[in-house]
Amino acid sequence: MYLRAENLGCQRAGREIFAGLNFAVGGGEALLVTGRNGAGKSSLLRLIAGLVRQSAGRLELEGGETDTPIGEQAHYLGHLDAVKPSLTVAENLRFWIEFLGGGRPAAAALEAVGLAPLADLPAVYLSAGQKRRLSIARLVAVARPLWLLDEPTSALDAASQRRLAELMRTHLAGGGLIVAATHGAIGLERARELKLGPP
C-alpha cells in the first residue's frame, strides 16, 4: 500500500499554505512532517483526511479501496480529542468503534492504552493526557491502514509516550502507514522526514 502525493498544494482563505509537495509513504513506513509553526503541518494532515480541500496536485492511496475516500481509510488524531465529557470512558470509545465501522471490543483497546480501570468514569474527570489516551484507543480498536497523527505525544507522560510508540510500531509491523506532524522525536527509529516551509 502506498500513499503518494504529487505536486500537492493547499490554499486556505486565499493564502497559500504550501505548494508543489511530493512524497510517498509505503506500507510499514512512517513519515514525520516537521516545520516551524504555521508551516502547514496540520493543514497537510487535514488535507489527507479530506477535511481541507486541496488546491492543486494529486493524492492517492494505492492499494487501498479505490471507491472509498482516503479519509474513510484513515484515522485522524487531531489537536482535539473528540471526547464527550458527559459520557463515560467506555461509552465514548464504544460509540466511535460502532460509528467508524466496528472492530475490537472497547475493553481490549482501553487495556492497550492503560485506561481499563477508568472505563466507567465520566470522561469529564479525565486529565488532558488521559483524554489523549482515550482518543488513541480508537486507533487501536478500529483497523484502518493510515494513521494521521497531529502532535500525538502532546500531553502524554513518558510512560504513555513509550506505550504510544509501541502501538505505532505494531501498526507499522502490520503493514500500516503513519503520517505524523511533530516537533520532537515520537519514538520511532526508522522514520523519514518531510520538512515543510522555507529551508
Binding site: R12, R46, R53, A74, Y76, L80, L87, F95, F99
Partner: protein, 222 residues
Amino acid sequence: MSAVTALLERDMRVAIRAGGGALMGALFFLIVVTMVPFAIGPDLRLLARIGPAILWLGALLASLLALDRLFATDYDDGSLDLLMTGNMPLELTVTIKAIAHWLTTGLPLVVVAPVLGLLLNIELRAMGAVALTLLAGTPALTFVGLIGAALSVALRRGGLLLAVLVLPLTVPVLIFGVSAANAAIVDGAPFGPAFTILCALSLFAVVLGPIAAAAALRYGLE
C-alpha cells in the same frame, strides 16, 4: 445499521445527561406561555382566541434555543472532524443528528403543550388537535434549523446569527401551523387543508434540510 443506532443513542444520551440542555427548551416553553395570561389579563375569550398562536410562537422560540448546540459542541470538541471521516454519508449523519435533536427537544414541546393549553383556556377537545399540529410541524422547525446550525457552526456566538437565518424560513410553518390549530378551535373552519400543507412543509424540510446542511458543513470546514 449499527453506526446509525450508535449515533442516535450517543446524541440522545449527551442531550439528556447533565449540561445537555434537552429539557431547557421545554422549560423555556413553559415559562413563556405561562407569562402570557399575566400580560394579557384574565380575558378568557381573548386567551382562547390567541392561544394557538402563543403556543406556536413559544414552540418556535423554544426549538431555536437548543439549535446552536446541534453541531457546535461536536465542532468544539473535534467530534465533527471524525463524524466526517466516518463511512456514513454526511447527509445521513446530519439526518440522524437532527432526529436525535428533535426527539430530545421537539417531542417534549409536543408533550407539554396540552398542559399549557389549560393556562390559555383552550378546550381539551381542541387541545389534542393543537398538539397534533405541533407534532406535525416541529420536525420542519428542526430540519430547517439544521441548515442554519450547519451554516453558523464555525462562528463564535453563532446562536444569534442562527436565529436571524432560521426564523424567516420558518414563517410558512408558523402560518399553517397556527391556522390548522385555529381551525380546531373555531367550529366549522376546515382543519384538513392547512394541516396537510403543514405536513408537506415538514416532509420538504426533512428531505432538503440534510442535503443543504451537509453541503454547508463540507464547505464551511475548510
